[in-house]
Symmetry: C2
Subunit: 376 residues, 2 copies
């Protein structure tokens, strides 16, 4: 191992590297500067900056972090050196030193719902605003992958974790994080992890607006269609609907296409041919189209005979909205962003004690699929 002067230090040089040594004259005296050309050139470090600016590494660090005051001209010299050299601090090294990686991990059971995209985008926005980055992880619907993924996240020493639609008992996987004080926050799932906070969109305002609008149009009964386990609305959304309909004296029926393995079409048919048919269907974004077509297949028109309302919780939904359905619009991007802020806050001040509901993310958007209730 060859040793060579490098900046203010002596460093060992792997044999494969070529190097040359030049002296620089500065008022402080002689300094050494080593130009190293490796197979894979090494990025510029704080030491390079310090050398270029003619200050010590610690001064350079202070000038950049602003931890303590540095003489004006020195700070300026450091900043110019940063500019000319294109220096960017190595986050891994900083993370090692600060015991903080500036990374938040996101765990998805699977990446199929377009809502995930909005969430990722929103989380990323918040993370980036707080100088964090986002490590995205998906089990691709395979629960046997969970252990490996969580271990991977733990190996990264993420500073916080967001859980999106995880299945089953996670306590074993999450234990290391909880023990280390890493905040774990769950995105509105029906049942959060015991003891871990859940962040969800408070849809009550939007729901109430929608129900009131429907009631004002004379509607007295509504059927809600759920579809598949991942699309089942969270408990809070259900309760909002219960409260809002009760307040205006509207009856509510829930049908799940999962129960008894019914298709959306079969549900719509059985509902409309029942003794007390609804005049409104409420369905998740992905099923609206199917609902509308099922209604038409029975020879009825939308909205003259039956009105249709959808929960729209993804921006991508817009492209399947050529019917311009009336929707209860949920801004999942904003939800993700706010959730990111919650995580950052939790990293700073510890995991919050209670679940968090974010208001103002849902609003009623009237559309072409809603009209006055038909007279009998």
């Amino acid at each position: 191992m060859i040793r060579a002067p490098y900046g203010q230090y002596e460093i060992p040089i792997p044999a494969v590297w070529n190097f040359e040594c030049v002296t620089r004259d500065r008022e402080a005296g002689l300094r050494y500067r080593l130009y190293v050309s490796a197979e894979r050139p090494r990025p510029v470090t704080l030491m390079d900056v310090a050398n270029e600016a003619g200050v010590s590494v610690s001064t350079a660090s202070r000038a950049l972090t602003g931890a303590r005051r540095v003489r004006g001209d020195l700070e300026a010299r450091v900043r110019t050196a940063v500019e000319t050299l294109g220096y960017r601090p190595n986050e891994a090294a900083r993370g090692l030193r600060m015991a903080r990686t500036m990374t938040i991990g996101v765990f998805f059971h699977e990446l199929t719902s377009p809502v995930s995209l909005d969430l990722i985008d929103g989380l990323g926005a918040a993370a980036h605003a707080g100088r964090y980055s986002l490590a995205v992880t998906s089990a691709r619907g395979d629960r046997s992958q969970y252990a490996s993924l969580f271990q991977h996240l733990y190996g990264q020493r993420v500073d916080g974790i967001v859980l999106a639609w995880p299945l089953g008992d996670l306590s074993a996987h999450l234990a290391p994080f909880v023990r280390a004080g890493v905040p774990v926050i769950t995105f509105r799932s029906q049942r959060g992890e015991p003891g871990l906070p859940v962040v969800s969109a408070d849809t009550s305002a939007g729901t109430t607006q929608a129900v009131n609008a429907l009631a004002a149009l004379g509607h007295r009964g509504m059927t809600v269609i759920a579809h598949g386990i991942l699309w089942t609305p969270p408990a809070s959304r259900r309760r909002n609907l219960d409260l809002a309909t009760e307040a205006v004296g509207m009856w509510l029926r829930r049908r799940s296409s999962r129960d008894a393995g019914l298709s959306v079409r079969e549900i719509v048919t059985s509902e409309l041919t029942s003794e007390d048919p609804p005049t409104v269907f409420l369905a998740p974004n992905a099923d609206v189209r199917e609902v509308i077509e099922s209604i038409r297949a029975l020879g009825k028109r939308v909205p003259e005979h039956v009105s249709v309302v959808s929960f729209a919780d993804s921006r991508f939904g817009a492209t399947v909205r050529s019917e311009r359905p009336a929707v209860i619009d949920i801004d999942s991007y904003e939800l993700g962003r706010r959730m990111g802020e919650v995580v950052l806050e939790a990293i700073e001040n510890g995991t919050p004690d209670e679940d968090i509901r974010i208001p103002g993310l849902a609003r009623w958007v009237p559309g072409a699929t809603v009209g006055p209730a038909p007279r009998r």
Copy 2:
């Protein structure tokens, strides 16, 4: 600063920590073990493992990395220690030492197309298989964010970069990565970065199958609808279509809803009322519905009067396919996965010299929207 014996070392203890010191009897003699309770407990390190196993840190490291042979019983003891302590190596420290962060960065201009989800999922699968993790980044459609995002990725010292639909000249942003030998790979954009390889799906097989099927049904003319700048098909996909149609003597007309600000409906109308109307429309996934409805609005039936084919490049597309349109199906998840493998390979062996086309990802899927060409 208090100093205390810790394992085989002496370590300084910040004043805020409480500690107690116990002796452990082992055949080797006395060892010290320190139980530290900090405000935020520190994760178990390799030194803890070494202590628990009664070996040196280097032996523990060797036992785990398998770099060199370690005596069988020692290795076993290290492994049990890892089990009982729940040790996971700190990737930041390892990255610092190895000059490799095991992270690949993904840059999106925006996260709106559901194709992005498939890409992220596929990239994540490949990354995770290679023990890498994925740092996802989105400019949210705002080019003024680019600089900051790329700097952030550079700060992370990602080992490789994937570009998805970036806009404009990126050379300034990418320079630091290229200089550092970090492979930058572009996902099929119309024009890749000069000098940087592009990975794209080779759709020729699927396209040829589709065109041949249509020709066999008697179709002689097709109009292709493009929509918006991000949805414009890549050059290769265009060329495939040219070649395939030419081979069977089918004429091809391209209409873009961007040109002259025409809506999809206006394009379909003008096409079907033209002198030489097509008997087939080919449209991106997001527009099929609109195309079909526009055709129906003209009093024509699908597929009796006009056939419709779609490029389906996202799994989420399935939920908007209640019409079961005939599609040229592109497996974007698999494309992402393969692209991830390309990146990993590039990290290992350097950036590939040429663009990479991945075959077998596109296939023709007949559907309810295609039928025999109508007789005149």
